[in-house]
Symmetry: C2
Subunit: 231 residues, 2 copies
DNA sequence: CAGTATCCAGTTGGATACTG
DNA sequence: CAGTATCCAACTGGATACTG
């Protein structure tokens, strides 16, 4: 039950739904392919399950999301109306990357970063067979090591050593790798600065940026002038 | 001080600012040309002045709005970052007009309707000299009559008889004229249904739809299937 | 004109625990 | 797996009045 503006304006009517906190992030997760409750949670880990449930209900009532039950397995998917939110989400992403470039310490989250990267692995660019990429965040107090494992069957994130030989390891502080992934700095600049290292087969090190292909939003050109002050 | 999502995702960082209630409507008003505090209020009449002030401050801190003071006259205008919100506002408007077509009784407001129409008068299409258009909403308990007066100098809304001869009068229920203005129904359909009448010089009656040119959002094609259930 | 000040009722959502 | 239930602290914003 989103609150109302009392305006006939289409922007106002749309925002009655869309400006509720978390709503557009849930839509983003659905667009990125999450289908189940606990998969959605992985994309919005700071959201309580009660609130996620409530938002899904609101979105379903608004006709943006469809709830699908087969047996005791529940899925959510975007309706036509929901799919048409893509231009909004993309426009918001492009604006955000251009005009809100500052990240707070709270915005950095290795799990979320790996989760997001693993969804965008370019499987075509990766050698056939099995490829494991290691990630090390030496400054973290715990859970310093992560892996992304790519096989013909798909791409997985691990927070325990999968035991496979690692083709290349990325050693970086969390902020730098996050900024590289957002497209705020490029791989070459991060490498030169020394805050990011690539270790492993030289060929794999050179190929890595193609395996972890940046999204369209990350590739958005930045404003030439200095950015806006942080919110 | 918008609340934080704790995500590096550009969509999340942008929405920390943009999903605060009223924010995007204030931006819309600035895009439509309002520059002063009380002009902005006219576009968001249900917003308290305290809240409008707070939102303008937040937008200014975020670098989206610039506050300009000359003497004791204060203006607000969009910065480059603010101007680049246009694609978002437009995408939201197009989505809203397609997927949130139901209007509640609370969404209807003659003052807001006339205010919005007067901003979109196509001065080129209107005859030279002075043109007055009357509006009558017979079902309203009070303030049934309104006028839009177009001169070489500009376009004004009046809620008292300006005393000029009226070229054409629109007599309608408020909902129908609102729907026509939103592009939910066209003039011809509304006229045929009888819920809207045009009175006055026949030539002016035929020309009226060109004087009150629909916005791009209103001209957005609608989904062919039946619309979504109301929020 | 361009806001600020104050107050408070209502809502929101975070934390935590629990269930079929 | 897919949520509900409960509690409560914090925040939000509406109403109203006032100011330089």
């Amino acid at each position: 039950m989103p609150s109302e503006y009392g305006q006939f304006c289409p922007v106002a009517k749309a925002m009655e739904l869309l400006d509720e906190r978390w709503t557009l992030l849930v839509v983003r997760e659905l667009m990125l392919g999450s289908r189940h409750f606990n998969a959605l949670r992985r994309g919005v880990p700071r959201m309580s399950p009660a609130l996620l449930s409530k938002r899904l209900q609101t979105l379903a009532r608004a006709g943006v999301v469809e709830r699908w039950q087969e047996g005791n397995r529940v899925s959510y998917r975007l309706t036509d109306a929901g799919l048409e939110l893509a231009p909004i989400v993309e426009a918001v992403g492009r604006w955000g990357v251009r005009w809100v470039p500052e990240l707070g310490d709270r915005d950095l989250d290795p799990h979320l970063l790996l989760w997001d990267m693993h969804r965008n692995v370019d499987a075509e660019a990766v050698p056939d067979g099995r490829t494991a990429i290691g990630f090390e965040f030496p400054e973290l107090p715990a859970q310093r090591c992560w892996w992304i494992v790519i096989t013909g069957d798909g791409v997985d994130v691990c927070d325990v050593d999968p035991g496979f030989p690692v083709r290349v390891t990325v050693r970086s502080d969390l902020r730098t790798l996050t900024r590289v992934w957002r497209g705020d700095v490029d791989w070459a600049t991060a490498l030169r600065s020394g805050s990011l290292e690539l270790l492993g087969e030289p060929q794999a090190c050179r190929a890595l940026p193609r395996w972890l292909a940046l999204t369209d939003v990350a590739r958005t050109p930045r404003p030439s002038r200095r950015p806006v002050v942080a919110v």
